[in-house]
């Protein structure tokens, strides 16, 4: 595969070594600022742009308003000027993200930081020895490639077929499964970005003549941004194993053990596992409609249901959730944890970053009582639970 990732860094060795370790070194076209000659033509057709934030140690040690900034975001803006809106997804990497952003970094909320930066993703450069970052970068570039390859069909799809086409082509929704319609309907509820028609090239005349762009990349980027900012960080039409556990009424350790074993349930879950773009991004996910289909097949009566689950989990002993109305507990940043608690012990909370379609997070009452910032995120109708009875 020719280079499809533009990488701008004054010290690219570390990340490139990690890329070579997974036989992906040739996918990177690296440039060291300020020498960016020749990068424009490749950037215009790339699947991904990657910028190191600090390209000048002095700039990091003593930021000032003097001279011309050479940090990754400044270079990003230069690249943007070259191709206008027809740019691929962009990633900012840095081992000094806190300094770059000037605030704390919660790895689970990187989608919010990226939005603040005006890019699609941010990552610490040497996270997990560079391997994890490379996996993320390659997943993003692969996603762009998959979407590009599907662009003709997505563009041609009629209004009523578009979401189904997107589900099948990009999200790899299995064909001919009985939960297919439910999955498409749920995905549609999360308002995937529409595939844009041609549109005008608003760049200056000289650039229009000099540098060809691919207008489809705008829609490619739109879908990837939608996945990164809305679909993946929240329980959506794709859910993590915590939600699978809650829906099936199984403890999370039991479900994880069952998934590792050759059990009836692991086979069923394999059939509803999400395998589309960015599927390996930050833990596996399952189609919510597929999990519902498994659930639908279980008996309604409590004892018969338990027996059926026991058989499905074998050889792993079934451990059912003991709590009434189980919910996945989130922390003070509204990031979901592995804890499952009774809804009666929790309150619902959300913040301005939650997509309109996302259900509120559940936080422990005891936590919200101790944390004023968290308490402010609690829904109005649940606020009374935070007040101790007189």
């Amino acid at each position: 595969m020719p280079s499809d990732i533009i990488y701008i860094d004054d010290e690219p060795q570390h990340l490139l070594a990690a890329a070579k370790a997974v036989r992906a070194g040739k996918r990177f076209a690296e440039f060291m600022p300020p020498d960016l000659d020749g990068a424009g033509a490749e950037a215009a057709v790339a699947n991904l742009w990657v910028f190191d934030f600090y390209n000048d140690d002095e700039e990091r040690k003593k930021p000032s308003l003097r001279g011309t900034a050479s940090n990754g975001l400044s270079v990003f803006q230069q690249f943007r000027q070259l191709v206008g809106d027809a740019r691929p997804p962009a990633v900012v990497v840095s081992n000094h993200l806190e300094a770059a952003l000037g605030s704390d970094i919660n790895p689970a909320r990187r989608h919010i930081l990226a939005e603040e930066f005006g890019v699609e993703w941010v990552a610490p450069k040497t996270l997990g020895n560079g391997g994890d970052v490379i996996a993320e970068i390659l997943a993003l570039a692969d996603a762009a490639e998959t979407l590009r390859a599907s662009s003709a069909r997505l563009k041609a799809a009629g209004p009523s077929e578009y979401v189904a086409e997107l589900c099948h082509l990009a999200l790899k929704l299995p064909q001919n499964v009985e939960w297919q319609r439910a999955a498409i309907r749920e995905a549609s509820g999360w308002r995937p970005p529409i595939w844009l028609e041609g549109g005008e090239d608003h760049r200056v005349q000289s650039l229009r003549e000099e540098l060809a762009i691919d207008p489809e990349i705008r829609s490619v980027r739109g879908v990837i941004a939608w996945m990164l900012r809305q679909v993946l960080p929240y329980p959506s039409f794709l859910v993590r194993d915590r939600h699978v556990a809650v829906r099936l009424g199984i403890s999370l350790p039991c479900l994880r053990a069952v998934n590792e074993a050759a059990s009836g349930l692991s086979k069923s879950l394999k059939r509803v596992r999400y395998k589309g773009v960015l599927s390996d991004f930050d833990a596996p996910r399952w189609w919510g409609a597929g999990v519902d289909a498994i659930e639908w097949g279980l008996p309604r009566q409590r004892e018969a249901r338990s027996e059926s689950l026991r058989q499905l989990c074998a050889p792993i002993p079934l451990v059912e959730l003991e709590v009434a109305d189980p919910v996945v507990v989130s922390d003070a940043d509204l990031v979901e944890t592995d804890e499952i608690a009774a809804a009666a012990d929790c309150v619902r909370a959300s913040d301005e970053h939650f997509p309109a379609e996302a259900a509120p997070a559940w936080v422990k009452i005891v936590d919200a009582k101790q944390d004023k910032a968290l308490a402010r995120k609690v829904r109005q109708e649940d606020q009374r639970e935070l007040v101790d009875p007189a």
Binding site: E178, W179, R181, A182, R185, A289, D292, A293, W296, R300, A324, D325, V327, A342, A343, A344, C346, V347, R348, A359, E381, D382, E385
Partner: protein, 242 residues
Amino acid sequence: MSVLIDLADYLEEVEAFVALAEEFVDKSSALRLSDVKRELKTGIDFGQSEWSWETREDILFRPSRLYDGPGRTHVDTWLNLGFKCDFIRPKSVKKSRTVWEIVGSATHVTISKDDGHMSCHFDYKNRGQWGPQLHFQVSEDIGNLPIPRILSPSFLPTDCADLILAELHPEAWRQLQAAGTSSRHVSVIREAQEHRTKTYVENIANMWRGDTKSTRVCMLQNYTATIAALPDRRGRSLARPW
């Protein structure tokens, strides 16, 4: 006589009702409420010829104190609601349609406060019973009495919940319906209820016209609807062939 229902059409009503009633549901039942919606969708999608839509656990609504009359205050009074609707697709209905026959429906309601509770249910009567086909009945647990059965055209779970909420939260439930942000949901429910109720009222009027001798109330106590299919929320009859 059983009646046909287009469940895809009713699903719109359920979604609107869930959105409207969400803030009246105790938070511990929030997921039960979304489960109800999801299970109806899944049932429709799976299209089995015979299936049930039901609550696994009762949905608990938030309590009210002001429901009796002006100036009358009670202690917190709660509402629990659970239901089971059984559907069968008749042979005459194509598998591609989202139309089923309601062969039975029971919505159980318990209203409780610290010093007591009252259980009742809204039934779409089974064939072995006397009394109105669609009826409200106090639980037989109270006095071991299956009567009286009182005619109630509210028999779908959303209608039963609407009926009880209108009494338990008289002010708040009406205020919410009057709010501009609720208008879309309210109009979906209102139109569907109106067309459905009208169909039964006209059916009862026809029954009365056909019998000049019996007392009207007595006739109601033996009422079995002769309605082939519930109208959709726009008042249209289900298009034949099913």
